[in-house]
Symmetry: C2
Subunit: 492 residues, 2 copies
């Protein structure tokens, strides 16, 4: 079975699909726009989920679970939110099938089992959750309410791509309720920092923290904070968002609380989420033309050991050396596999684990055994080194940490090189078309200008960075005065 | 806020609802038949899920994720399975809403956005998974495929009850593929034993392992194995099922493999699942009229420490004693909380943690402090003991283990007392109506007799126990010969 990958240079988009499919992360399904997350891809997601879940709990959040369906009347209660998602909703209208009288053995929707009120498959859960919070919040003593949910959501996208944009995806959505505006804003920012911490220190992907413009804001939010990452083709990817929702949902669902002086006020809200989309970003940020490159801290498999032998005797000798090593590595908490499967040759295995992005490969042959050494290969740099068997575990443990750091540094160097300040329209277009990446430019602050720039160049304002430098300038399109640069990019 | 619970004797069903709602496990939602799993209930589910997930992985399974939706044409491919679930399917027919021209600010289903083929919200995933397996299995080398999925499913039940029967519920579903019938049967039985191990040793609920009759079999299975538990009202609860699916799904989805001799054959299948329904069983198996009683091994909170003090000085003194204790308990891996919230009195806290079923409560007052003792109260027996502060952590750790064992023993003694052998119809009806529980009776082996018994008494055959004693007898209804007793009960 040959597993050739299209090169990035030849067709970046096809390269990405090849990696996801041949790297065994996901597969297409029989349902339009929905994918199957394969065991290897799901193991990656589990690692990501577990780290994030701990971060959420460490910051005082608890998990809960709310219904998959949102009755239409609730869905439309917060009008901006409803308007934002209305065009991409899967809608349940019936609750029963029956035998099709015209087609023996086939079923049809039973027209008599029509729901009185249609149910929207949740594209996001603010509506159903705030309708629930109404019953849970009466007093300031009930606040803050810091709840997260791990769930599947459905957005009926017309153009879908594995992980990056699927009709159904897995995510977490935090929904918090607060007594004051200040506290809600602090929460919104805190979770943005949690996301940035996770994406940078676990996924080894550098991000820029910022705030969205009104045009790019979450439907129903007062402010949307985001982290933006850069892919190897110079396009940006929104990696996570944290929304300050003001009192919009509290007003839509009439959620009030009495403060210490018994005064009634609407509750302040935030919501924040990251999804399986992060896996798409991970793939595109690090991998190469030989396959995936996964950062050690979240890789499903961190180390693979491949024996190179002729005959059972050599294999047994190698296995004897490997066994205590395996045990040591596992005791260190390292995710390691010894692949002594006879059905595949070492060369096939090397290619396979390269494809799957396993950070470290250890090969042991009979001659190595005699010399008490092994060959250690790094997936990220493809360098190989002969290493003494003595002290190997510790060497591997440190190597994994080094790889993690170097992957981040490499991605960060690339990202930093791809933030370009421009001061004219021609320069702006030129950088977008040639160098790519983030373009830091002055903008007059109006949605109209932003929209025109998007139409002309397909570039959007990714964010106004937090703690952005204040600097006088003029808008690259309108020439009107501006007080700060914002980051434009073409994006996923 | 008074939290009175209806007593079991007065209204068992209301008692159950009171416990779920007032014990903060779940809440009703705005969606018919769907519930909200509250943080405390979800923490319980997380503990159960984590233990089960480890058991699945330890037995060689991996997790994956398959789409929420099943296209109708796939859904109906395995006819028996489709027929079994057709009457309880939520069906997505449209993918867009639009503004309602007659109602400003309101939305309506866009009739132009009708799906060409309806999508069934999965009631179970055999169809979508076996359609996927077709692409993954060619050779015996691809087998066995041992995959599990944690997911939400929807079954449009007409009469719903919190946890026990909800339109949407959370579960895991294992779907495995094998080269031989024998191997698939071994897998089916292995997972039944895993379930029994979990329910008995973690949930402290004794179960009977058995096989379902044809009438009670999973739609599309050749054989359904089950574990049956007994609730305190003498009704049985099916706690988990493991299905040997034969080649039914392989045939419906044309999934063949070539064996070592290159001969093509259909793949053999199993599927197995447990759900949030287990939480309902847990509540009903152990709790009392004061609230939940949760087994320590899965309780979200195992120990709560309540200070009893007047004024800040006493509180500070108590906290000083509690802090090292807290640290010790946490280091032992015990889930402990120190509730020094000033807003609530000790009596209120005692009632609250009793309601929530926290296994051990430690109370410390100023006088105790002087005597270097604390009061330790068990939730299950409601006994209280004065215990020395020295060595308290170890005492608590052992106490939790003791509670776990005694809860199981108590439930088992009740269950064992409620298996009654009867040899006549009158006896059968009398036991069902008075003593309740499982009734071991001879049955002639026909679905017709089983059906009549169900109509007359509402009792069903819960299972034919594994390794059932063979014994000559006559059917309690028809008088025809029988070779073994089967277990009848009224059930949830």
């Amino acid at each position: 079975m040959s597993k050739e990958i299209t090169s990035r240079e030849k067709d970046y988009s096809q390269w990405y699909n090849d990696l996801v499919l041949k790297g065994s992360l996901a597969d297409y399904s029989a349902v339009r726009g929905c994918m199957v997350i394969k065991p290897y891809g799901y193991a990656l997601w589990e690692n990501m989920r577990d780290v994030l879940d701990k971060m959420f709990k460490d910051t005082g959040h608890v998990n809960a679970y709310f219904p998959l369906f949102v009755p239409k009347s609730l869905f439309e209660a917060e009008e901006k939110n409803a308007e934002g998602f209305a065009k991409e909703c899967a809608i349940v209208t019936h609750y029963r099938l029956k035998n099709d009288p015209n087609k023996p053995g086939k079923l049809m929707v039973d027209p008599e089992a029509k729901l009185e009120e249609e149910l929207i498959v949740r594209p996001t859960s603010e509506a159903i959750i705030w309708n629930t919070y109404k019953g849970w919040i009466q007093s300031y003593r009930d606040l803050p309410l810091l709840i997260n949910q791990w769930a599947n959501v459905v957005r009926w996208e017309m153009r879908t791509r594995l992980f990056l944009r699927t009709a159904e995806f897995l995510w977490q959505e935090g929904h918090t309720a607060h007594a004051t505006k200040e506290e809600a804003i602090i929460e919104t920012e805190k979770m943005l920092h949690v996301y940035a911490d996770f994406v940078e220190n676990w996924m080894a992907v550098p991000v820029i923290k910022g705030v969205k413009t009104a045009n790019e804001r979450f439907a129903g939010a007062e402010d949307t904070y985001c982290i933006e990452a850069l892919m190897q083709d110079g396009k940006a990817l929104q990696a996570g968002t944290s929304h300050f929702l003001g009192q919009n949902f509290a007003k839509a669902f009439d959620v009030k609380f009495s403060d210490k002086t018994n005064k009634l006020d609407y509750v302040w809200a935030t919501s924040w989420g990251v999804s399986t989309r992060l896996i798409g970003g991970l793939v595109m940020a690090h991998s190469d033309d030989d396959g995936l490159i996964l950062p050690p801290r979240i890789a499903p498999l961190q180390v693979v050991i491949v024996p190179i032998y002729k005959g059972d005797e050599e294999k047994a000798m190698i296995s004897n050396t490997v066994e205590p090593l395996l045990k040591e590595l596992k005791e260190m908490g390292i995710r390691v596999k010894y692949d002594d499967n006879d059905n595949n040759r070492p060369g096939w295995k090397f290619a396979e684990y390269e494809m799957k992005g396993v950070p470290v490969r250890i090969a042991i042959g009979a001659r190595d055994l005699a010399n008490k050494v092994v060959e250690v290969a790094r997936r990220d740099t493809k360098t190989k080194l002969t290493v003494d068997v003595n002290g190997l575990s510790l060497y591997v443990k440190e190597l994994l940490e080094e790889i993690q750091v170097q992957m981040f540094n490499k991605a960060k160097a690339y990202r930093d090189e791809h933030i370009t300040k421009v001061d004219s329209w021609d320069e702006f277009v030129h950088v977008l078309d040639t160098k790519t990446g983030f373009v830091a430019a002055h903008w007059d602050g109006t949605p109209e200008t932003e929209e025109v720039i998007k139409e002309k160049t397909k570039a959007t304002i990714r964010c106004i960075p937090l703690n952005n430098e204040q600097e006088e300038g003029v808008c690259i399109l309108s020439g009107k005065p501006s007080k700060e640069r914002v980051l434009f990019a073409r994006a996923y």
